[in-house]
Amino acid sequence: MNAFLKLHPSILSIYFFAIIAVTMFSSNPVILIISLIASTCIYCSLSGFTKFFIKAKNYAVIIIICTFFNPLFSKNGKTVLYEFWKIKITLQSLLFGFSFGVMLICSILWFLCLSQAITSDKILYLFGKRTPKVALTISLSLRLIPDFFAKFRNTSQAQKALGIYNKNSLKERIKSASDVFLSVCGDVLESSAQTSDSMRARGFGINKFAVYSNYRFYKHDFLVSSIIALLIVGFVFGSIFGELKFYYYPTLPPIPFSTYSIFCYVCFGLLAFLPIIIKFKEDVKWKYLM
């Protein structure tokens, strides 16, 4: 997966934006199946099979809940399977709930992949290109917040070891926590004053704050980004002409399989499996080189 993760952050963000948007707004079962398989594959190769199997149980529960709760809220659909009191359970609403559940799981998996691919420094870079000062502020707070919690933990431990606050009564506990909180705030304020001294000592504010980034747009970044762009354009084009839409109510239509819609599926499939394709290409290339 390394070759994919090393792509330029802006390509990664466009890629995930496109994939997640299509997954979330499409109810087409073929698109959803492609998205589910691709996201599972990518998640597994990023975090490992064991981690996926630990989570798979929860995902199954989510899909079951979605499937069986949808009929309670939706009375649409013609094929009634079961009816009691005023609740009709229809085949269509069960299937819609199921596809909604799958869509939810796909989105979760894509977001998990995104959080591994786009790390905090890549986010900083994406923001910082336009406004370096915003990036600096984010960077400062990324350090400040964990620092605050560490100080809070240490100070409450120190106070506990003094045995001054009686931990049995709720009132005392709240008082001790608020005392510690105020004292830590003071401490953090004072260290921020030192940080600002250190910034001034290194000439902050004299010139315009320049942009610095580790990321460069390589030749293969250009290649991959044009492939992604072509696939997205192809997909949009195909979905305008072809019939991609799929309605569950009132009766299930046949799954769209016109020339245009097949073209769309291929475009989306290639896009979704792009990280796997890149990985495969790198593996083959490496083997060949060795």
Binding site: S120, D121, L124, P132, L136, S139, L140, L142, R143, P146, D147, K151, N154, T155, Q157, A158, Q159, K160, A161, L162, G163, I164, Y165, N166, K167, N168, D179, V180, L182, S183, G186, D187, E190, S191, S192, Q194, T195, D197, S198, M199, R200, A201, R202, G203, F204, G205, I206, N207, K208, F209, A210, V211, Y212, S213, N214
Partner: protein, 558 residues
């Protein structure tokens, strides 16, 4: 070529009668390594800040500082920001970014360089300082020593002519600080950067410095080369508390009446001893050390870790501390010494083994009753204080312990007199110096009347006077029946303070013995007085030991 010239510089803070700096004049040649020393409150920090316009405090200034021949207040802001580098004491608070590489880039971003230039410079500097391995790491994963090295690197990357450092190693352990000084020396000798470093640990810097500036109460005592400085101190300031701050070799030379050149390094000092003294009497008499029979703290095969999947920090610790003794536990940073204290104080549960405090199992203490017997001083004494003044914090103890007025007043007076802190009671805890805040924190603990004191690095960052004072206080406390366990990496302090010293390594105590046996059986982890007198005298571990032996051997002086 003269890089810095200070002429008749005086400075006082607003609303303050006393002059913080009084009529200071000196000049520094380009490429010099200058050590600025003096005990706390002598004005070292203020003087350094006056040399960096961006950090100069507000107040009344008389006199002139010129940098490369121009008055420092008239030179261009760009020049003074980037040509004069400043490294502060606290490794954490000076860091701006959350990643190592972006911290290195920060100064260059302020210079407005382009991306390519920044990349080139930070790679170069990362290579020079050997930080390429953790170039992409989060700042939060670094140790204190690495952070301070990063601070030095991120100042050096701007290519300064003059580096000012304000006690850069005060918060570091000895090994990290040696590494830091090595890097600093390379900057000075390989790149020719002029360095002024304020420091009170002189053992390492004194022999290699070009100039020593000694300050006392805002005025400059001397500005000379190390050898000349040693002679002047011997002749003119032999009773000053500064004496204790000098390197062991110089201290020994000063106490003995020998007409020869002052030794600076360990090898010089060995030559000095063998040439000038014989060693008929090899060791001082030592009384057999007896412990009391009652055990104050006992750890038996204790294992502990912070999380289930993390490795063991305590790996079968065995330790017995007897009532009324002072035990110093030595070991490098990150070995788990602090974790051991936390476990003993019940803040971290051990998952195997037995801990007994005052003969009673830790689990038998209910609620906070353990803390009637034990008190823990954390590594950062600020964590003890929650209120606006020291007195308010002490009153907090009065409330919780339910002392009546007379009782509290009596106890407070006793403690404050013993620690000599009566004048500090109305101050804000954060405004105190390192030594003062340790003493005040100790006062708060003592008001709880504990039988067992657990102290985590109480002498970190203190100058020699403050250390001596704390050592005396611990001796007094011991006499009043308090048992003291001190975790420290300061071998010189342990040698003068401890009844027994223990070595902590790899999650357990590997050796424990009385100081003179403990240190003389160590080859590397020992005091500098022991290192320089090794093979000449036996069991001499402090400067006083060596001096006493030399005086006894005087009769047979060659």
């Amino acid at each position: 070529m003269e890089i810095l010239n200070v002429k008749d510089l005086s400075f006082s803070y607003p609303d303050c009668e006393n002059k913080c700096l009084d009529d200071i004049s000196f000049n520094i040649e380009s490429g010099d390594l200058v050590v600025l020393s003096g005990i706390y409150g002598c004005g070292k920090t203020t003087l350094l800040k006056m040399l960096k316009p961006q950090l100069s405090p507000y107040g009344k200034k008389v006199g002139e500082v010129s940098f490369n021949g121009t008055n420092i207040n008239e030179i261009d802001e760009t020049l003074s920001a980037f040509e004069i580098g400043f490294v502060m004491q606290n490794p954490d608070t000076q860091i701006v970014s959350d990643k190592v590489y972006s911290e290195l880039a920060f100064g260059l971003q302020n210079m407005g360089l382009d991306n390519y230039e920044i990349q080139r410079k930070i790679c170069e500097v990362a290579d020079f300082f050997g930080i390429s391995d953790w170039f992409y790491n989060d700042i939060s994963t670094l140790s204190g020593g690495q952070k301070q090295l990063l601070n030095l690197a991120s100042v050096t990357v701007m290519n300064p002519n003059l580096l000012l450092l304000d006690e850069p190693t005060a918060q570091l352990d000895p090994i990290s600080s040696t590494r830091f000084f090595d890097a600093l020396l390379r900057l000075n000798s390989e790149l020719g950067i002029t360095v002024i470093v304020a420091e009170h640990r002189l053992n390492e810097l004194w022999p290699i410095a070009d100039k020593i500036i000694l300050m006392d109460k805002g005025s400059m005592l001397l500005c000379e080369s190390p050898k000349v400085a040693a002679k002047i101190i011997k002749n003119d300031f032999s009773n000053s508390p500064l004496i204790k701050a000098l390197p062991s070799a110089v201290q020994i030379y000063n106490a003995l009446d020998v007409e020869s050149e002052c030794p600076l390094s360990v090898s010089d000092a060995r030559r000095f001893l063998t040439v000038n003294f014989n060693n008929d009497i090899k060791c001082l008499p030592h009384e057999e050390y007896k412990t009391s029979s009652a055990v104050a703290l006992e750890l038996c095969d204790v294992f502990a870790k912070y999380e289930k999947n993390l490795p063991d920090i305590l790996n079968g610790v065995n330790l017995k501390v007897f009532e009324g003794e002072c035990v110093c536990i030595l070991g490098s940073n990150g070995a788990g010494k602090s974790t051991m204290l936390k476990t003993a104080a019940g803040l971290l549960k051990s998952y195997a083994g037995k801990i007994k405090i005052g003969g009673k199992k830790l689990s038998d203490y209910k609620g906070s009753s353990l803390y009637n017997y034990v008190a823990l001083l954390p590594q950062n004494p600020r964590e003890i204080f929650l209120h606006q003044t020291v007195l308010e914090d002490l009153l907090q103890v009065k409330e919780s312990k339910k002392y009546n007025d007379d009782e509290f007043e009596e106890l407070k007076t006793k403690v404050c007199e013993m620690l000599n802190i009566t004048s500090l009671l109305s101050m804000h805890p954060y405004d105190l110096s390192g030594g003062q805040i340790q003493k005040v924190a100790l006062a708060k603990l003592l008001l709880l009347q504990p039988k067992l004191l657990l102290l985590d690095e109480p002498v970190k960052g203190l100058d020699s006077c403050a250390k001596q004072e704390l050592s005396d206080i611990f001796k007094k406390l011991k006499q009043s029946g308090v048992t003291i366990v001190i975790v420290t990496h300061d071998v010189e302090f342990a040698a003068i303070t401890a009844d027994r010293c223990a070595m902590f390594w790899g999650g357990k105590i590997t050796s424990i013995n009385v100081p003179h046996k403990f240190f003389s059986s160590n080859n590397f982890y020992t005091t500098s007085a022991n290192r320089l007198s090794r093979h000449i005298f036996d069991n001499a571990i402090t400067c006083d030991d060596v001096i006493a032996l030399c005086k006894q051997n005087r009769g047979g002086m060659r």
